[in-house]
Symmetry: D2
Subunit: 327 residues, 4 copies
């Protein structure tokens, strides 16, 4: 770490900083670089001490040289779940946005399976921007999702709204953290101790760095089975609901061995872009996809504007597998 | 609402949509506008039905004409708390970022009061990007905050991390929803029933619309005492940590009678911008400010890079009051 | 187009608007929709008249139903150039960032050709953020680029800084509009009359819509040979220099028949992401790629952080062709 | 500058870099910091050499300690023009968006003057996103603007579309660079030699840093009379057309002595926000404002959605002056 002093600092003003650093056992050389007085420190203290150093009025800025890798960077790796090696085998998770009263979930899961999906997803508690929008069927949906998973042989993935729901999710295989909750630290801490794999979605306004730190909350709690999922970021462009960040997929794969997935459905926000975004994500290195499907799309009626039918899903999986082969 | 059909739709393909609309009691005129077939509907169904309409493959898009105002738009108004009319009297909330072991909170609250602050804030549970950063002193800090509030005569404001902490916050006056939690819907629902005023911060990646909907979660639960707080949005610019959105302040004041505050400290991310952003926010119409202060800033040591000393605070309050007079 | 009136408008206040509309020959029905008075107009006037209508104080907003397609949407199509069908055959444009004194351009062009590139690019005038950065060798570079193109048999692509340089570019085959210049309308108008194909890069802060309008400036001048090029947009994420917007690639291909390219090099900003972004772009539907290459990358010395060597280029072209086959 | 090597580099691989640095006369100490080998260089070479250093495959990254201030930072200062000290006296520039056939420009300029404006602006060449929108009356408008300026006694400000128009602007007092042209480097270079003050608008997708560099193009050409103008940046928020960045105003004033203005009209995009944004800009430290006004706004007919009437203008100027007094 390098501490750069303000240019107008006189020597005597440095005394409190020098004694602070010495008191913390920080070793440094005082040098002149490009006209600035800098302290080149051979080690980097924790963030809290850094904040205190920044608080000295004579300090212009701190420049970290590097940082220790996070646990999830150094230790994160692909892992097996239910016969699939996540991070190695292409894994598509498919299913409807939200479970609805009159839906045949079993049929949906079977169709997803025969289209080539390896996991089944469905929403029980829908985090909705408006309190007046359909919020999901709640706990009763969880049972139906678990049952459909069993019947189809597909592991189930479902979004958990808060740490207080952990018990209700006992029959769900993989717990999803939604984009809105990526920095719900109480939830992340609880998932660190939950013993189940977690699919962690990137917040639409969050950086790749923040996603890694959110993952670290789960890792540092002892849970090393995390799937990272890029789902589009908020930008000025409105051609898609969010902008799928394929660079993030490539960057995440370079930083960690954990499986990196993409959710093209939420990034697109409309059916017609889903196929292109799916293939782009896989070409950028995504190990899996999370795709909204619907039975009713085939009857021109869908629960959401981005759900695709199972035939389209099968086509995407076929092409995505071929692309992964090429890489 | 207007339903615009795709341009290549033949008359017979419209039948399922027509019978769907009729079945839901939606009255419409079928018209030709600018070469498109459109259905001009005299009423607008709920969002769930709109989603279904969008799901028809012959539908190009839906154009809402307007929308019903939210409760928090039509009913939101200034309200009195502890002798301050929030939304009318300029109200500055000041205090340290996080409570620390060796801090004299009572002294801090008294200094804030004599600088002109009307409320006292301090953090007990700090939502931190990294799991390894200082997370706050937790429940023991809450007691000290409440005590400092009593001694100084200032109501207290403190961020609540999750709905499961409601009991612990019983001695805190105003519950703050942090930017990370703006769309933590479980927390919002719980706050709708909590009986205390809520200070709701806008998420850095959230729109003004989404902030209003988050507020509506609290309102629709029966709690109409909400303070909205702009604190900067995430943009490509790095000159400040986040970009304080003064247009949002003006727009929020036009949409609701609720008090609209700004947090210049978190938007700035560094001490030197706090004064300018504070005054800009008030000039744009902000009814109050939330400012990080520190005793130690005076001794060139601070708990955070953006905390200001109490003399600067007093100057800001003096100028902000004069500006509010002018408006 | 629908004109929505403010909710507090009394009938008599409508008279000036009604007479304005009638005077312009605009036919409309006055209706009540969702509690608002709206004028449903069967045709949409030009943007200038719309602006005037928005200027009436009783008008809340204008809602366009649709808009006439641009020329470049209805007429834009793939086109042949030098034996390559742009928009059908995968076309990779490769070459160094900027021509430098000591560079063997002929060798570079030949290496690009043997790696599978179909066109050769190099910069003569570099638009640089700082006036003190290397600005390119200028006119003398143009001759060398043209010569290298001839020797290698590859058509040449070069960025033109301003309309006043048109004469100097007479031996360059395809004129590139840089991202900074996407809305340099004087340049666009001149290119509409220049008789050469144009490669139009999207501005980092520009929408897909604005790119189409910039293209329309060239089209409406009579030049229908335009290549659209996505090169990353400016977002809050810093993991890549800009965020490659693969949705834009898919959306552009749906809107126009013109060839759509991507520039992964400038989006990435560093060598290690170029391959992943290239393949993602092609998987999303890109018809071509523009990639910075360098001879010196092989000797661990490069003119730019994102230039790749020719072996890597050959690998990308091989994989990209295989992916395009799959689509 | 510090050069950080990749962690997996062996000593012998460093030789080419060491000889490169020595050859360029760069003095450095090789040190171990936080487990990385770093070269602490006591001076910083130019950007071109830095690019070459980044090109070495053993280099992880370069960390600049600081940079030399730009000319426009060290030398930029307030300056007098026509009796107004720009950067000290509050200066409001007002006038219509674009000159139109049937406008009484003289009357508009006189009204602006009596409302308290110190300069008159109007558009002759309008840079429009669409080629089909009204592009301005062109050269004939310039004469009328200059005449109106003379009659009202107000200096005139007008946007110049390209360096080839310099002659036509001989009777205009201050040349404006529009946001679209902020990085039109050919234009900036020409303005560096033009001998007239320049009002330089920030691009909606450009950083404060890039604005300073654009200004440096003008400065380094010998023209030190530049007015910097913040006009809103492109973000995900749509409540205003662009997000007025008040932090940028404060940051620019800290970096340079040049006058810093704001254009609330284009940031707002609608009349109702103009007053709040104007006052916020001045409270943040803006030395002047550029505001669109219209005579017709009073007759409920306006040339643009954001133009305000002269009474509103007078109110803004009165309040803005009072706020500037307080600062």
């Amino acid at each position: 770490m390098i501490i750069v002093l303000r240019s107008d600092v006189s020597g005597t003003e440095e005394a409190p900083l020098v004694s602070f650093l010495s008191g913390r056992g920080i070793v440094f050389s005082r040098m002149l670089m490009e006209g600035c007085v800098v302290y080149v420190c051979t080690s980097c203290p924790g963030e809290d001490v850094c904040q205190m150093i920044r608080g000295f009025s004579i300090v212009e800025k701190l420049i970290p040289v590097d940082r220790k890798p996070l646990l999830c960077e150094s230790e994160g790796s692909s892992f097996e779940y239910a016969g699939i090696v996540l991070g190695r085998d292409l894994c598509v998770i498919a299913g409807p946005c939200a479970v609805q009263e009159d839906q045949d979930l079993d049929a949906l899961a079977l169709k997803a399976a025969s289209a080539g999906a390896r996991m089944f997803r469905a929403g029980a508690f829908k985090p909705r921007t408006s309190p007046y929008a359909f919020q999901g069927l709640g706990r009763q949906a969880l049972e139906r999702i678990a049952a459909a998973g069993k019947r189809s042989g597909l592991p189930t993935v479902c979004e958990i709204p808060s740490e207080s729901y952990l018990d209700s999710f006992r029959d769900i295989d993989i717990l999803q953290v939604g984009a809105h909750n990526m920095q719900n630290f109480e939830l992340l801490k609880a998932l660190g101790r939950c013993g189940k794999p977690v699919l962690l979605k990137r917040g639409a306004g969050s950086t790749v760095d923040e996603l890694m730190y959110a993952c670290e909350y789960i890792f540092s709690g002892g849970n090393e089975r995390v799937i990272l999922c890029e789902r589009g970021i908020r930008t000025f462009e409105t051609v898609s609901r969010n902008t799928l960040d394929v660079s993030a997929i490539a960057a995440l794969r370079a930083r960690t061995g954990l499986p990196v997935f993409a959710d093209p459905s939420h990034a697109a926000g409309e059916r017609r872009l889903v196929s292109a975004l799916s293939l782009a994500a896989v070409a950028a290195g995504a190990d899996g996809l999370m795709i909204e499907t619907s039975d009713r799309a085939e009857k021109a009626l869908s629960d959401s504007a981005q759900a695709i039918d199972h035939e389209t899903l099968a086509g995407i999986i076929r092409k995505a597998s071929a692309i992964r082969e090429i890489l």
